[in-house]
Subunit: 638 residues, 2 copies
């Protein structure tokens, strides 16, 4: 008895035995080789196109449907429709990303997010009977009926512009009484556009509007791949690096329009850049998913942000927002959508919702603290069932801003510091091994933690006297004390790099804000032991968790319990772009996560004052820190 | 035992006995005095404001709620809230139109349409608790929650622009922790706008875009009254008086945009005119309902009309369309909507749907023929349960166009004609009793009917010889015959007014189109006896039904069976503006009325050729006409 033929599927390296007369699609069905087949294997949609790597002669010959649906280039490259090629002998088949029914994206920085590739924007290839006097149903109804019959989806509305061009678009490719076109549908409900013939492409954008940086990712929504990325500075910075200055500017006459058009112009330049790099037209982009903090959300959408910028911190809206790109002059397809993730409350905005989405917070089974450090630090605590969140006004110190010798993380910035426990002699890590010119955020956190560890500052953050200062603590002309990290030399222009008492105070304030927020949420949740600390946001990647723990800023977890998500907000946006269900998940996060207004929390002020101590007024609550301090052996009594 | 006090309600002239302690609203409840009370009688909405005509001293004193909700002018004019004024003795109350829960509009030309005053645009006065740190729900959610609590409606979305200004709008009027504002809601689902304080006004437009004339009605949607009307010529006429020329122009580069902006500009000028006349701002208009034929619909919306202008006459879309006014630069409130009634099929467009809506076609219990005469005549036939409709290409002759001495209905136009049965001496009715200069549509139909009645033309429409022509039938230089209606005199510039053989032929063609359409629909419906002939459209008002019957154009009904709706399309639009359910009724009409494509109907050509005879090849099918002809006694054999 003859052996059954075997079909090998890459990229999975799966071999499946094929019963006689089965198509490639039928052979794959039930195995782990997942091939998309939107039209149900009827030779219409082309989503099951596969490339034959070897054994093409062991397949049935190319059918008329394949000639019609596949491009000439595809036919030349050995592509077949999985639903039409019947297996007659051994064959090796490569299933390209665009034909797989599941996707997986490997993020930069090693974070993996598994998801189903199922974007809101979908393409449906259609065959319509050409109208006659006996059958002169309106074009749009004809198209909707075909979507229902050929794909089983009920599209009920159409973008105005999809209708204006419909008659010529559906009639552009006619053969023998059959019209061929491709419908671009948003969310299975709205017809966005119709393209003559069998269009292949649909793209989307994930946009992360940071206070400082705007990142635009261009993705092929059919394959889930990142095609190109653009990162530019937020042009609104000229009205102030901080959010409050910008909100104030927005309240001047014409200010709101100015801020809005600045950010839109910048995004349009980025769109130009990413589409040029990928060799596509902006017209092929049908959706852009946006994340950013509450102020960026309001300023982008042209919403009055005055009420959220001052107590009692009320945003104008909370729900997800979906607006036509043309409404805001964002230059993607005229019928395309801009989708903003929702706001949880106050300053806990769409960017943190995206963080929690990327963290899969509600699907975890352990107790979690998730922190995104910024001028406003956002914190979430999850007890395995319920989550609480808050925004903590950390200020800019943790990012190295408003620090005596603070600077951004660029060559010459001191990014890591250790002090010799005896001599207090510093060992510096400088970006690019350059001559040190200043201290960036991770460096200043390290310094303060080390100053505390060796005993150069006490638990109130006060410097020891110059007499006890190992020659590194000195008094300024104003009578304040400071720590000399790098002595003045000719190389640095005779200007020492120091850490002032004021700098220490700023870091204390910042860490106390995060710490107080975390502790209040842990207390709301009734959690004593944290299983996992999830650091979301690029900045959290750079801070040394051990230093942050020493200061009391992070909860008492071991190094193996810390998870770094990197640019989680961006990943959350990509996730929402590529899997429609992620948008519903974002809504669920808003629904289920309790927003806690720290300033209104009973005892907030006392808790904050206690957190101003290093690591906290009650050292016993920080046993890991206590143990390390005891190793050094300095007196830590208050 | 003391008598109960009595409350008299005008304008109904209803007296109701009042139990002790009841409010005016409670007294009216259950009687035929219908007072609106959107907030359920809680002193919030002001919709139950009534004017006290006498007996004000017999009411409880004015409450704080009334001071807050009513304007100073209203209080001065003796207005009270029906829900707050408690009856203590006899009182006479006038309920203004804006406070009545039912409306009725008396149309011009004597047509009455009864309806419930329940427009898609509704105002809801709200009281919101001012946000605090403990209660800092987003503004929009706060507003939605209040709509739910105070009015029981679930508003789920907001126009983008309603949100952008929300924070300042809701905070503009605050007293002691309470914010007062008015929400403008569309269709109980979408927040259109928020106005500080207790706004009173909301307006709407009904727009009838005719091929020749554009009519714009401004209505107060809270009272149902027409505030002002504008009628202008359709500016697209410069590309041709007929539709086909315009569709051809729309296919030239930039032509579609040009036609669209011409009509939008004209409508914006009309809006300026009607708002100035009524003393309101365009910003107070939140909806405009549009009707027009299929081509006017497509050209206004910027839709490619090429496919509907040629066989097989396929419109691009069919369903009702609702688009933001700002999308098409129509200058009403930025958040307002333009609502087009739907298309039944081909040339049976929104204007005829409006006709059928005004005619209440589906609610009738008799057999009905409804005709709207124009260049395309629309016809519906209803058998008491089901309706059929078709469009008949009548051409412009019935309107007096392309007739030798045809002219529009203006001073000097012959509008009615009778011929002496013996001498064929005409008796003319001329508009404004002026010297006759030409013949308008109703005149030409009269002339041809009279020529046939007296025997000047035979059943094929051919003139008798000049010998038999009573001196009025003469031969032209080309050998054609014509009928002299008015001899050349000095007064009319030595130019006779004649009816040519070609003119008679044009009228035969036109009447045959209407007649064939009607007969085919009657045959589809299996109807022999027509109970009622409904003439929709201004033009049908002017035609003499007896003349139209003589020609075979109208079915065999008596004068008392004919109903004239006048400008039914305009009334249908007004109806849809003032009662939301009318829009659903329009959808039901499209759903339930069968569209018949005459050109595809088996036997259409034969039927048309038979209808070219006067009144029809089969005279026995027209017994009324046969009887009248027999009175005259001319030989009518073929």
């Amino acid at each position: 008895m003859a052996q059954e033929p075997v079909v090998s599927f890459s990229p999975w390296d799966i071999d499946v035995e094929a019963e006689a007369g089965r198509t490639v699609l039928e052979v794959a069905d039930g195995s782990d080789a997942r091939i998309e087949a939107l039209c149900g294997g009827n030779g219409l949609c082309g989503t099951c196109a596969v490339q034959i790597e070897s054994g093409a002669e062991n397949l049935s010959s190319v059918t008329d449907e394949e000639q019609s649906v596949l491009t000439e280039a595809q036919l030349d490259d050995g592509y077949r429709l999985g639903c039409r090629a019947v297996v007659e002998g051994d064959v090796s088949v490569h299933v390209p990303a665009s034909s797989r029914s599941e996707g997986e994206i490997v993020m930069t920085e090693g974070v993996e997010v598994d998801f189903d590739l199922d974007p809101s924007v979908r393409l449906y290839r259609l065959e319509l009977a050409a109208p006659t006097l006996e059958d002169n149903t309106a074009d749009r109804k004809r198209l909707f009926d075909a979507l229902q019959e050929q794909y089983g989806i009920e599209v009920t509305s159409a973008d105005r512009l999809a209708t204006t061009e419909l008659p010529s678009r559906i009639r552009a490719e006619e053969t023998e009484g059959t019209l061929r076109c491709t419908a671009v549908v948003f969310g299975t409900e709205e017809l966005l556009s119709v393209v003559p013939g069998t269009a292949q492409s649909a793209y989307g954008l994930a946009v992360d509007i940071g206070t400082t940086t705007v990142a635009v990712y261009l993705l092929d929504v059919r394959s889930g791949t990142v095609e190109s990325v653009s990162s530019t500075l937020n042009p609104q910075r000229r009205h102030g690096g901080d959010i409050i200055s910008r909100v104030q500017h927005s309240q001047k006459p014409g200010g709101r329009e100015e801020l809005q058009s600045e950010i839109v112009d910048t995004i349009n330049e980025s769109i130009d850049e990413v589409t040029t790099e990928a060799g596509i037209e902006p017209d092929e982009i049908f959706e852009a998913v946006f994340v950013g903090n509450t102020a960026m959300h309001h300023l982008f959408l042209g919403i009055d942000a005055s009420a959220v910028a001052a107590s009692p911190y009320v945003p104008a809206m909370q729900a997800s927002e979906t607006v036509k790109a043309r409404e805001l002059n964002v230059e993607i397809n005229d019928s395309g959508y801009l989708s903003w993730l929702p706001i949880i409350g106050g300053w806990v905005g769409p960017d943190f919702v995206a963080d929690l989405l990327a963290a899969g917070i509600l699907d975890r089974t352990e107790t979690v603290v998730c922190i995104d450090i910024g001028t406003n630090g956002e914190i979430a605590v999850y007890d395995g069932e319920t989550a609480w969140t808050a925004s903590a006004p950390a200020g800019p110190a943790l990012e190295g801003a408003e620090i005596s010798h603070g600077m951004r993380a660029k060559p010459g910035a001191i990014e890591a510091v250790t002090l010799d426990p005896d001599t207090w002699e510093p060992t510096l890590e400088v970006i690019d091994d350059a001559e040190p010119v200043g201290i960036c955020g991770s460096g200043i956190v390290d310094v303060v933690a080390q100053l505390f560890l060796v005993g150069a500052i006490d638990r109130r953050g006060r410097f020891v006297t110059p007499e006890d200062g190992r020659g590194r603590v000195r008094e300024t002309d104003d009578g304040d004390r400071e720590f000399v990290l790098v002595e003045a030399t000719e190389a640095n222009g005779d200007s020492a790099i120091v850490v002032s008492q004021e700098d220490v105070r700023d870091i204390q304030n910042a860490k106390a804000a995060i710490q107080t927020g975390t502790n209040i949420l842990l207390s709301e949740a009734g959690i004593d032991d944290v299983d996992r600390l999830v650091m979301a946001g690029g900045f959290g990647n750079y801070l040394d968790p051990e230093s942050a723990k020493l200061l009391g800023m992070y909860p008492q977890v071991g190094a193996d319990q810390v998870e770094f998500l990197g640019n989680a907000a961006g990943y959350g946006a990509i996730y929402a772009l590529l899997e429609e269900a992620a948008k519903a998940e974002a809504e669920r996060i808003v629904e289920e996560v309790d927003y806690v207004e720290l300033a209104a929390w009973d005892g907030f002020h006392d808790e904050f004052m206690e957190a101003m101590y290093l690591p906290h007024r009650d050292l016993d609550r920080y046993p890991d820190v206590k143990a390390r301090l005891e190793e050094v052996g300095v007196d830590r009594s208050l």
